[in-house]
């Protein structure tokens, strides 16, 4: 019984939150890794692209709510998501036309594009704050829980409760669908294969008649969809705040690099590695340990390895350790 209680506590406080957070990071890291593979630079504006997409979703959700539209037990934001994706796609394509394309024509070095993306980051950041302001916005509605602590306890008779938030369930389901679609697209369709070919060897792709502008356009479209989805899921799970998305840049970059930049599979693995390390190391283990250890050994302190404020430090240390032992990341960052 104690073992079961420990397991439930572990699931409730570590495993479920980490899976949800990991899915959000993975979706974010996928966008970063796609840009890195195909446009060949790390996009500093990615966090703000997520914020922009999420902002659109928030605004559309409010509009739908004011019109009395709802999605039953699911959050209305899911209905807003497709529109938000379209809006973000328009923004990134416009940015590419006005900003990035010029540098491609100039055959600019990737590091110049990194600096360019800083400028885009400033603009997007300003845009989001300009439109919706810098404050916290809540937009989640519908059922709050799939299983609540009380229901779980009544169901199982255990002392520990287990809660699964609707947003956590949705995060995982949506992330799985997105990833499946992405891999199907990259590995099974002509366009997807041409993207992989372009990422692998640009010159040979040109010689094979692959149109680079088309590849780049598809990349931005996919990135916009991934970023918006990641942004909305994160916002539903926590709350929407522009600055937080900017700060997500570090764990997202860390996920992409730990997995191996340019490798989509790596981005997903990296997202979960970072999420699980962050959650486990900043979790107070007392609750789990008190079931596992005999009473005499029961810990008096919280058994929290690091305070939650150091979660960035955790992603960073994991990153350094991986880079020291495997400089190319867990999955050799080869191509998209």
């Amino acid at each position: 019984m104690d073992f079961l209680n420990a397991l439930v506590a572990l699931s409730n406080f570590v495993i479920i939150p980490a899976i949800a957070y990991g899915s959000q990071l993975a979706l974010g890291a996928l966008g970063v890794t796609l840009i890195y593979g195909i446009l060949r630079f790390s996009n500093f504006a990615h966090g703000d692209t997520m914020a922009f997409g999420a902002m659109l979703a928030v605004l559309i959700t409010w509009l739908l709510q004011s019109m009395g539209v709802s999605f039953g037990p699911l959050p209305t934001a899911l209905l807003a998501l497709p529109f938000a994706i379209l809006g973000t796609m328009a923004l990134v394509l416009f940015t590419d036309r006005v900003v990035y394309r010029f540098y491609r024509e100039q055959k600019a070095k990737p590091v110049i594009l990194v600096i360019v993306s800083m400028g885009v980051m400033f603009i997007m950041n300003g845009l989001v704050r300009f439109i919706i302001g810098p404050n916290d916005q809540r937009f989640a509605d519908g059922e709050r829980f799939i299983i609540s602590v009380r229901e779980f306890k009544a169901m199982t008779g255990l002392k520990e409760g287990l809660a699964i938030k609707t947003t956590q369930g949705i995060t995982v389901v949506v992330a799985v669908i997105c990833v499946a679609l992405l891999f199907w697209f990259l590995n099974r369709t002509r366009t997807g294969k041409s993207m992989r070919a372009y990422s692998d060897n640009e010159d040979l792709a040109l010689l094979s008649g692959i149109n680079p502008e088309r590849v780049v356009m598809y990349t931005w479209l996919i990135v916009a969809a991934l970023a918006t989805t990641a942004g909305v899921l994160y916002g539903l799970d926590k709350s929407f705040k522009p600055f937080v998305y900017f700060q997500l840049l570090l764990p997202i970059f860390a996920s992409a690099i730990v997995g191996g930049l340019g490798s989509p599979l790596g981005a997903i693995a990296g997202g979960f590695v970072i999420a699980f390390s962050e959650v486990t190391i900043t979790y107070a283990w007392k609750k789990v340990l008190k079931y596992m250890l005999p009473e005499s050994l029961e810990p008096s302190s919280l058994v929290q390895l690091l305070s939650t404020d150091y979660k960035f430090a955790v992603s960073f240390v994991i990153l350094i350790v991986v880079l020291l032992f495997k400089p190319t990341g867990l999955f050799k960052g080869k191509s998209v």
Binding site: G119, M121, F130, G133, L250, A254, S315
Partner: protein, 434 residues
């Protein structure tokens, strides 16, 4: 137009704009812009050393600036009575134990042959070391933080003159930069960007949470000043007389006088660092740096230790940022870890360097002044613009209120637009590298 006249004209323009602020708004605002402009110029010089002369991508400027700020507290603040005996030494021992664990791990890994035994030993040392560290550390921290928590609860500083804190800030930043550089530079491809991005966040997290160090988000206020206090000046009859002679009321005059004092001090530091940077770059060392930047393979083939050179310049550039950070905290008179944000302290400095002209020290200085001026003045300009735009809208309309409220966020937008415009149409910056 020759290069020199162009440079002079650009600097003239920036200072004319600051002077215009003085006549149109107030000289207090103008001097504030000038003082922060001087500090920004120093930060830009630091980043320019790294990016402009060595191609090192440091996106953790914020961290080094914050370390400079921390140095001010640790150097110039008065020591908290009883803090050291209560737990200060314990904390130091704990930190040494932590460092010892890491050094021990590295040594064990070097001595032992690769294999399962080594991995087990590594994990064992790290786990034991971590709990040992926490075991010593936590009670020490609790003891220190229990001392007069409303006002103190930290170790305090060394009570040295505050001007000493500036080089100390540089040293502290240099030390951390050396640690980062040692790990992140020197593989076939480096990963300095992500390393600096991460370490900057960690430095801020430490400063926010380790209350025993500098009170965390409770802030340290009332730091010592290298210049007189306004209130003292207002009580000095000779000063009051002279101010009245100039036709100023004592309050304004004292505030201007204090700011001018800061300006002079900062200008001296800027000139020293600028001259040193120029001399260094004209020296054989600087020529070699540029040779490495322009053709690393050739430089390596000639037997130059590229990694070491990169490490040197990374440490130097970070030290300059640390000095500037210490100066800024001195100017503010308080350390507020919650206010450090990457957009303002990392990426804005990058905008300064790129806009001014990477690879050119004068360019970096110009960029520092110009971008800081715009950063401050875009807000009132944006407000004015919004008022013009919304002039025709009915009073009390939601859109009008929203637009006027949002004017404050114009500055981020403007900085992005400026950066992109310069990159596009003048990619070498306003004062290009020769």
């Amino acid at each position: 137009m020759s290069d020199t006249t162009r440079t002079a004209a650009l600097f003239g323009l920036v200072f004319a704009m600051i002077a215009l602020t003085g006549t149109m708004q107030s000289w207090n605002v103008a001097l504030l812009i000038l003082n922060m402009g001087l500090i920004s110029a120093i930060m830009a010089l630091g980043v320019n050393l790294q990016w402009g002369f060595a191609g090192l991508f440091n996106v953790g400027v914020m961290g080094f600036v914050a370390l400079g700020g921390l140095a001010v507290v640790l150097t110039s603040a008065a020591p908290v009575e009883g803090a050291w005996s209560a737990g200060g030494w314990r904390i130091v021992i704990a930190l040494l134990a932590g460092a010892g664990t890491i050094v021990g791990t590295v040594m064990v890994r070097q001595r032992m042959a690769a294999g399962r035994a080594r991995n087990i030993a590594t994990i064992a040392i790290l786990v034991v070391g971590f709990f040992l560290y926490r075991g010593i550390f936590d009670p020490g921290v609790a003891a220190v933080e229990a001392i007069n928590p409303a006002l103190q609860g930290n170790l305090g500083g060394l009570n040295l003159p505050v001007l000493l804190a500036w080089p100390m800030g540089g040293l502290l930043a240099a030390g951390v930069a050396w640690l980062i550089g040692k790990t992140a530079l020197g593989l076939r491809s480096d990963y300095l960007a992500i390393a600096t991005l991460g370490i900057a966040e960690i430095i801020i997290a430490v400063m926010k949470n380790e209350d025993w160090l500098a009170r965390g988000v409770k802030n340290v206020v009332g730091l010592e000043r290298p210049v007189p206090y306004e209130i003292d000046l207002q009580n000095t009859s000779s000063f009051v007389n002279r101010a009245e002679g100039l036709g100023l009321d004592p309050a304004t005059a004292s505030s201007l006088f204090v700011k001018l004092n800061y300006s002079v001090l900062f200008a001296i530091v800027l000139v020293i660092i600028f001259v040193m940077a120029q001399l260094a770059l004209k020296s054989p060392w600087g020529r070699m740096m540029r040779a490495i930047r322009d053709n690393e393979v050739a430089a390596e083939a000639m037997g130059k230790d590229v990694t070491n050179r990169h490490l040197q310049i990374f440490v130097l550039g970070s030290a300059v940022c640390g000095i500037a950070g210490a100066m800024m905290t001195t100017l503010d008179g308080q350390l507020t870890p919650g206010t450090y944000q990457p957009l303002r302290y990392t990426f804005l400095i990058w905008v300064m360097v790129i806009v001014g002209g990477s690879g050119n020290n004068l360019g970096a200085v110009l960029g520092g002044f110009l971008i800081w001026f715009l950063w401050v003045q875009v807000e009132p300009m944006g407000l004015w613009l919004m008022e013009v735009i919304t002039a025709g809208m009915p009073e009390g309309s939601g859109l009008k209120k929203h637009l006027i409220d949002s004017a404050a966020h114009m500055r981020l937008l403007t900085m992005g637009v400026i950066l992109l415009l310069v990159l596009r149409f003048s990619p070498r910056g306003l004062i290009p590298e020769k």
